[in-house]
Structures are given as C-alpha cells and as structure tokens.
Amino acid sequence: MTSSSLFNITTFAYLLSMLGFFAFAVSRIKALGTAASALAYGGLLSQTVAIGLRWKESYDLGIGHAPLSNLYESVVFFSWTIVLIYGLLDLKYRYKVIGAFVMPFALLGMAWGQLSLDSGIQPLVPALQSNWLTYHVITCFLGYAAFAVACGISIMYLIREKHEKSTPDNEQSIVATFPTGRVLDDLNYKSIMIGFPLLTLGIVTGAAWANYAWGTYWSWDPKETWSLIVWFVYAAFLHARITRGWAGRRAAWLSIIGFAATIFCYLGVNLLLSGLHSYGG
C-alpha cells in the first residue's frame, strides 16, 4: 500500500466522521457520535501510517527528508495535528459534538491537499536542509491546530449564546446537545493554553533557525510579522480572561479572529502577499 492511497482513505474517513458528527448533533443518537469519533481515530491512525510511509518513500527515492517541506505536505500535517488535538480533548472531556465543528477543518485540509495540490515528493532546496525545519514546523502546526479547535469551540459558543437569547429553554434543538456556555468558554481557554506555548515555541525555533542560517533572528519578513500578530491576538485573549467583561462572547470573538490571523499567516502571506514580494525577485 502506498502513502497516497492511505491519504485517500484518511480523507474519506474524515468525511464520514464529519457527516457522522452532523447526524449525531441532529439526531442525538449516541451510537452515531461513537461511530463518528471511531472514524476520526481510524483516519488519524491511517494518516499517521501514511505520513510515516511518505517519509520512507522519500528515502527510497534517495532524497530522504521529513514530509514537512511544501504546501501539500504542510496541509496534510496540519490536518493530522487538528485531529490529534481534537482526539486529546475528546479523550479528556468527552464532548462528542465538538467534532462537528472541528472535523470540517481537518477534512478541508485533506480534501484541498488530495484534490488540488501537487503531491509529488520533491528534494529539499538548500534553504530547508536543516533539522530546525522539523522542530519549527511541528511546533507551529501543533499550535495552529489547537487554535483551529479553539475556533470551532468558539463558533459553538456564539451559536449557543445567540440561540439562548432567541429561543425558550424547553424547545428542542441541535444546540441542546452542546455543552453549556461556561464549559465551552473553558474549553476555548484550555485549547488556547495548549496552542499559545506551542506557537511561542514555533516562533522561537523559527528565530533560532533564521539566526543560524541567515544571521538574523528577526527581520520583520511578512511571515514573521504575521506570526507575531497571531501571538499578540492570543496574548490579548489570555489577558482578556482576567479582564472584567471580556470573558465569554468577546473571548470567543478574539479566538475566531486569532484563528483567521493564523490561517492568513499560514496561507495568506504566501498566496496573497507574494505579489508584493515578487518585486524583490
């Protein structure tokens, strides 16, 4: 079996898992929730094997390197980290319905990678030939993934809050399966508590690598600046927790804005700001 076919199986598993979580949220049939998480864990397992296999395949080609070197490999790894962080949260807190708001991110990553990105294994360009690449990418993406999970939870918080205002308590709805607002607020905080140290470590390893390879740990390159913007937003979030009037709704919005900035840092800088960079040749 090749890594490519395993990645396809993974994508399919994540699709079914997401649909399962949706069906669970609507129907409240427990078995559906259990099946959906089982699919998510199964997908995670097959993706783990696939990433390992791709690593080995690169060595078979004589250009061995960790599969973290281009857009395709990063989006696959991002998707893997999202399911991993979701899995940890699920094992600890067992709020199945959160999967309905997190698995779409993982599926989106895999589907984009499998359907429209070049999945060929390329040799490493000289700039990336360093062990720092592995440390830097792993820490950054684990951080990004925790923020993705926090964003999903924040969306749930806002939906729940809006719904509680407009509908009487006794009415049956999907929202009734959601954890309470207080729990969601707490889970949002807990996810960011995982993400923030990892992002910080990601920025520090990036700076260490930049210093080692170029002699400057910080040069205000757009990618660096955007990572700092993300850091500022989540630093604001952490301080918001202890500021009166900033917990709950505003914290949820900060978490969503933070994830939007994260995605811009990851993709936007390369895809949108590249036009400006092309001047520099």
Partner: protein, 459 residues
C-alpha cells in the same frame, strides 16, 4: 503617600497598571503591524514606487511606513507595552511575594469562608493522635505540613509549588529581556554583505547602512560550487573559506566549507552563504562578413553591449570548450541574446572556431559577423556577514519565556489547611489554577483521611 499626592499621581499610575491598557496595546500592535506586511519595507523596489501616487509616496515617507517597525510610533507602542508590564508587576509583585514567603498557616473563620471545598470530619480520639495521623496522610499524599498550636487547637498547613505564582512575572520579564537583547544587537552589532571572487580575499564588508566595516582579519574564498539534484533543482551552494590573520591562514579556519544552513563564525562575526555569481570578461570580434575591418568588443559575464547597428547583445553563458556539449565543434562558445533594432529577440550561440556557423547569424546582428575569441571567468560567492552580541540575551529571554509560560499554564500553587479541634477535623484547600482538578484531588484526600482516622460512629 499622602491623599494629595494620590489624587495627582494615582490616576496616571492606575492607567499604566490597567489591564485595559494591556488589551489596547496588544490589539493595536496586532493591527498596525499589518501595514508593514503590505507595504514593502526598507528600500522599496522602483516598480512598487511607480505603482503608487506621489501623494501616497510622500505620506508614506512622512509616516515612516517604509521602515515602520523602527518608526517612532511603533517604538512608542512597544515602550508603552513595556511600561505597562513593569507597572503591573510593581503593583502586584509585593502581594504575591508575601503570599509565597509568609504563608497564612492558620485557617481562621474569614479564610474558611473564602474556600469553596471545606469538609468536616467528626472523629473520636485524642486530638494530638488525630493531628499526627492527618500530618502523616498530608505528607504522603501532598506535602509535609507545618503544625501551629493555638491553645487547644492544632492547625496544619501544607503547600505545593508556591513559586509557580511568579511564573507570569517571569514571562513579563522575558519580554523585557528580549527587548534588551535586541537593543544590544542594534547598538553594538551590524549586518553586512560581501562578495568575494574565487581566490580573492577581503578584510572589509559593507553594512546595510552602506558603511564600510573593518573585520580586523581577512577572509579568502578558495572556491565556490553549486551541486544539483538529478532533476536540475539546486542541491547545495558551497564556498570554501579561509580566515587570514596578517595574511596567514588561522589554524582550524583553513579551507572551511560553508553551505546554506551551516555558516562560519570567527571572533563573533559570522559568515552565511547567501548568493553567488560569475565574474569575468569576454572578447568578441565584429567584422564584415568576409572577416575584414575587425573591431574588438568586450562584454562582462552576464553583461551586455551594443552592436554597430544599435541592437543590444546580452551574454548569457560561455564555455571555453564546447566539444562536450556539441560533438564535432571545438573551441570556445558563447550563448547570447540579441535585442534587434526592429524589436525582435533572438538567442543563439557564437563560436570561436567556426566562422561558417557564425555567418548564419548575420540576419540578427545587422549584417556583421560576430565571433567569440574566449574569455576568463570565475565564480564569486555572496556572503551575509553578521555580528550580534545581543543574541544570547535574546535566547535567554526566549528560554525564560518558554519556562515561564509552561509553569504559568500548567502548574499551580496549591494550599491545604487542616484544623483539629475537639475531635473535629476541618479540611480546606485552595489552588491558584485548575480548580476543577484540585476539587477532585481534595475529594480523594478526604476519603483517604477518613480511612486513617477513628471516625465518630465508625461508619
């Protein structure tokens, strides 16, 4: 501080201590940092400057948008953040310090009311025996307790990781340490650039602000090479460098290979492989088609020149022996691109020993015969040069930040008080974080205590 003084200074002090200021500064920093990711920084390329209007250009210059991360208003915001976190720390640290160094070891009524998990256990037996049993359980399950005797009442107090309360201040301090490292670097360090041709040596480099800096030693480039993957993508850029003191190679710094991601450091100055190119000069002969009226034409490697009819000729690549590429042909050859006077472009090869093949290019060179006589060519390496004495301070700050964040997020100051009075054991606890987890721990602790104590009705 008198009341009068307070009324004047107090509001300013409170302003600098406030969390609202923290939120404002962090969010403002996040938003305005975007500017410099959209507007090119440093010296923007001419294409960009032409694409914006004169008014915008002037405005951007006045506002410092082309070097915004060093502009007065950005530095001011960073200073505001620093003042804010210093003020917050000055305000809160003394109280925290007291909590750590002078713990409240007796659970009085007022403290008991603030605790959310107070449990009472009724026991029968001697208070001092009970006290010893409780102390033993605390020691094995939590931490060694301090016992205070107050008349007939025994107070036990045990705590874990009280210093974890300092972690958040360590994180704040780490931000300042990183800033200090950056300031040291900008005051006493520099970033520069130097090109060294193969075989040449340099002892001066040009800084980013175009100043000439004397290294105090010399660096010679012995050789530069590029290796490729089978698919043609670059695999390795390598310079062989030698450090020279008074013209002599320094032991251990003789013919050191320097590649991307593996620099050379000597006396606090580091050389990074950054770019490369070719240097050289080539001679061409321009004549009438039959070879009469020859005129020499010299072109630099990668350079260009004008032909007699006004068309431009750009030198792309040369070889001093073309036979490996084109069997049957010998001697030097040059690949050129001609921008013809009529607007067309043509790329072709000019040979040194083959006038017949060169005559085929007459239509592109204004009817003149162009021949390549050969040239000398060698590589040069482009090195980034940096000296930053502040970098270790920055790493110290980063380490402090990581350790601080970890402790601040994942460790908590947990305290447990026990009062033994007339057979009644009252247990209360408090945690600086993760109350949910601590609640579970307290429930477990009470169960263990009950097992070890002679209960009232032995239930």
């Amino acid at each position: 501080m008198t009341t009068n003084e307070q009324s004047g200074i107090r509001p300013i002090w409170d302003f600098f201590c406030s969390l609202k200021l923290t939120m404002f500064t962090l969010i403002t920093l996040a938003i305005i940092s975007i500017i410099g990711t959209i507007i090119p920084q440093g010296s923007p390329p001419p294409e960009y400057l032409q694409s914006i209007s004169q008014t915008k250009l002037k405005l951007y210059h006045v506002l410092g948008f082309f070097d915004m991360y060093h502009s007065w208003w950005f530095i001011m915001l960073l200073s505001l953040l620093s003042i804010n976190l210093i003020a917050c720390s000055i305000k809160r640290l003394p109280g925290i310090w007291k909590t750590i160094t002078q713990p409240v070891m007796v659970m009085g009524d007022s403290l008991e009311k603030t605790l959310s998990n107070v449990t009472t256990i009724e026991t029968r037996g001697d208070d001092s025996t009970i006290r010893d049993r409780v102390a033993a359980v605390l020691k094995t399950e939590f931490a060694d307790p301090v016992i205070t005797e107050d008349g007939e009442v025994f107070h036990l107090f045990a705590q874990k990781t009280p210093w974890s309360r300092l972690a958040v201040y360590a994180v704040h301090l780490s931000v300042l340490v990183i800033f200090i490292g950056a300031i040291i670097g900008s005051l006493f360090g520099y970033k520069g650039f130097v090109n060294i041709a193969e075989g040449d040596s340099v002892s001066k480099v040009k800084s980013r602000s175009n100043k000439e800096i004397d290294l105090g030693f010399a660096v010679r480039c012995e050789k530069f090479s590029v290796a490729h993957y089978p698919n043609g993508a670059p695999k390795e850029f390598k310079s062989i460098l030698t450090v020279l003191e008074n013209g002599k190679p320094v032991a251990g710094y003789d013919r050191v290979p320097v590649i991307v991601n593996d620099p050379l450091s000597y006396k606090g100055i580091t050389f990074y492989q950054s770019s490369y190119g070719k240097l050289g000069e080539h001679e061409f002969i321009i004549s009438d088609p039959d070879g009469t009226n020859p005129q020499p034409l010299r072109i630099q490697s990668g350079g260009s020149a004008k032909l007699p009819d006004g068309s431009g000729i750009c030198l792309q690549e040369t070889t001093q022996d073309v036979s490996p590429f084109q069997p049957g042909v010998t001697g030097p050859a040059a690949q050129v691109e001609v921008h013809m006077a009529n607007g067309g472009n043509k790329t072709f090869v000019i040979y040194g020993n083959n006038a017949a093949m060169n005559r085929m290019n007459l239509p592109y060179t204004g009817g003149k015969l162009v021949q390549y006589r050969g040239g000398e060519e060698f590589m040069y390496t482009g090195l980034q040069v940096a000296k930053d004495p502040g970098v270790w301070t920055v790493w110290l700050g980063c380490t402090l930040m990581m350790v601080g964040i970890y402790i601040a997020f994942f460790m908590s100051h947990r305290r447990i008080w026990v009062r033994v009075q007339n057979g009644t054991v009252t247990v209360g606890g408090n945690s600086s974080k993760n109350q949910g987890g601590f609640q579970l721990f307290m429930e477990q602790l009470v169960i263990k205590l009950k097992k070890q104590l002679p209960l009232e009705d032995n239930k």
